[in-house]
Amino acid sequence: MRIILTAAAVLTLAVLPAAAPWLQFVLTLAIAKGFAALGVAVLLRAGLISIGHAMFFAASAYGVAFLAHAGINDLGLLLLLSVLVAALTGAIAGAFLVRYRAIFFAMLNLAVSMVFYALCAKLYGVTGGTDGMPVPIPAVFGIIFAEPVFKSVLFYLSLALMVLVGLAVQRYLDSPLGHALSAVHTNEIRLEYLGIPVWAVLLIAYVISAALAGLGGAISAFAIGRVVPDFAFWTASGHLVLIAVLGGIGGVPGAFIGALFLELLHSAAVTVTDAWNLIVGMTLIIVIMFMPQGIYGLFARKEASSP
């Protein structure tokens, strides 16, 4: 049942831009943010809230811009290298941050990300300051497409990656390492007495979550065509936590459901009123009050109760 539902959802997403072309950009950004929110959701399984994951989103986006300016012009290579940049940044920050828990972990993530934001905004000669850096359209398997065609390629690539990376993350969460990650939330003492190094379990999760945020950042950089320091601002990090909680951390699809819901709600609300924040805020209050497991929790519960 779950496979049929997922396949139907992916198929619907694939044909939506044909019916409403403006949706393609919105959906590409939603998927990109879904990757980053999935990174946040991975850490939430261990009970760790990061209010700084936009840093990895931005690190990867800036990675794309710098690498493109250095002459690398292949979409696949740029994606791969920029995700590695985010993972490496995650390994460095994580080695220090995974020693902390609860509010200390959240605040230190926030602090580190704001240092990164400040560097992006102030190092004008390197990063372009608040003007940011342009991201040129890269080649796809050696072919340089016109912008509209490239944006379509990027959308369908993002969709395919959503399925493939989503499956890989689910596999990780089902593995002993994934279960150990969830166990951190409930009983670190028992984990230590099982001979499991908690710091290593958390560091691996942190690097994976940074890489996921990085993948989202790279896709956003290509979709928008420019990277700016605001990618790393704390409100962007808060936005990712919101998406993860809204979608639900009970399963991998939750992050993408949350991102799609929020992006589509935002797009619809801005067409109705200038006070679109009010509509978005009210909707979020309702969802969070009546669906504490997130939107995905609603699907999961229905599936569990079906014969």
Binding site: S175, P176, H179, I189, Y193, L194
Partner: protein
């Protein structure tokens, strides 16, 4: 005399001036089932905490197979074959009973596989066999936080057994277990320990359990050893009867 697996020598530790260990030394030998009894607050659990690296003594040393493990972490000591079951069960309360077991089995033989699932047919069979041993096979799919306290205790012991230890430290294994389940649990536990050649040290307040199952008894009082010997010898000691058994 059999060789000592674990030796604690001249241990000293105090909390707010109260001595939990005051220069005491103990040894547990291969194949033994050593019981430690004593009044509440006498430092029995502290002794287990020291032996498993959770607390470091002010002075003294702990040797495992002759190697000093005093400064090692609980994780490092666990990886050397020492497992522990707790007085208050330490479980992954949000996970299923079977997942608690399979994670313990995976910790022993393959945690680092991020690709293969936790649940394999072999691991599940092994987990179910251990759950059957402690009588929890019917609860395998339950979330462990929903188990009654006695069953949580049994699961905690099963998790420790899943590590296939050489030495098992049990902190009041029968507390919280109903009177009806107490002796069947101990019979199953003893059978598992003998089959798997596991040496065990257990802290216990139930003197009937101690008398029936311990091969040696050590009486711990105010951080020191008050008496030591076979159960009949120890329970025949007037001082022990007066100061420990009567109040234990």
């Amino acid at each position: 005399m059999r060789r000592a697996i674990l030796e604690a020598k001249n241990l000293c530790v105090a909390f707010n001036g109260v001595k939990a260990a005051d220069g005491a030394s103990i040894a547990i030998h291969d194949g033994e089932f050593l019981a430690i009894i004593g009044p509440n607050g006498s430092g029995k659990t502290t002794l287990l905490n020291i032996c498993t690296g959770y607390i470091r003594p002010v002075s003294g040393s702990v040797l495992l197979d002759g190697n000093d493990i005093t400064r090692l972490s609980p994780r490092a000591i666990a990886r050397r074959g020492v497992a522990r079951a707790f007085q208050i069960p330490q479980l992954f309360s949000a996970q299923r009973v079977i997942d608690n077991m399979m994670l313990a089995l995976a910790a022993k033989d393959g945690l680092w596989s991020a690709i293969r699932p936790l649940e394999t047919a072999q691991r599940r069979d092994e987990a179910m066999a251990l759950l059957e041993l402690v009588g929890l096979d019917g609860d395998a799919e339950r979330i462990s936080s929903t188990l009654p306290e006695g069953h949580r205790k049994l699961l905690d012991i099963a998790v420790a057994l899943a590590l296939k230890p050489r030495l098992l430290l049990l902190d009041e294994p029968t507390s919280g277990v109903s009177a009806l389940e107490r002796f069947p649990l101990m019979e199953a536990l003893m059978s598992a320990l003998r089959q798997r050649r596991i040496t065990a040290l257990f802290v216990e307040h139930d003197m009937d359990v101690v008398a029936r199952y311990a091969s040696r008894v050590l009486v711990w009082n105010a951080g020191n050893i008050m008496a030591e010997g076979r159960p009949d010898e120890v329970f025949g000691n007037a001082q022990v009867r007066e100061r420990v058994v009567g109040v234990a």
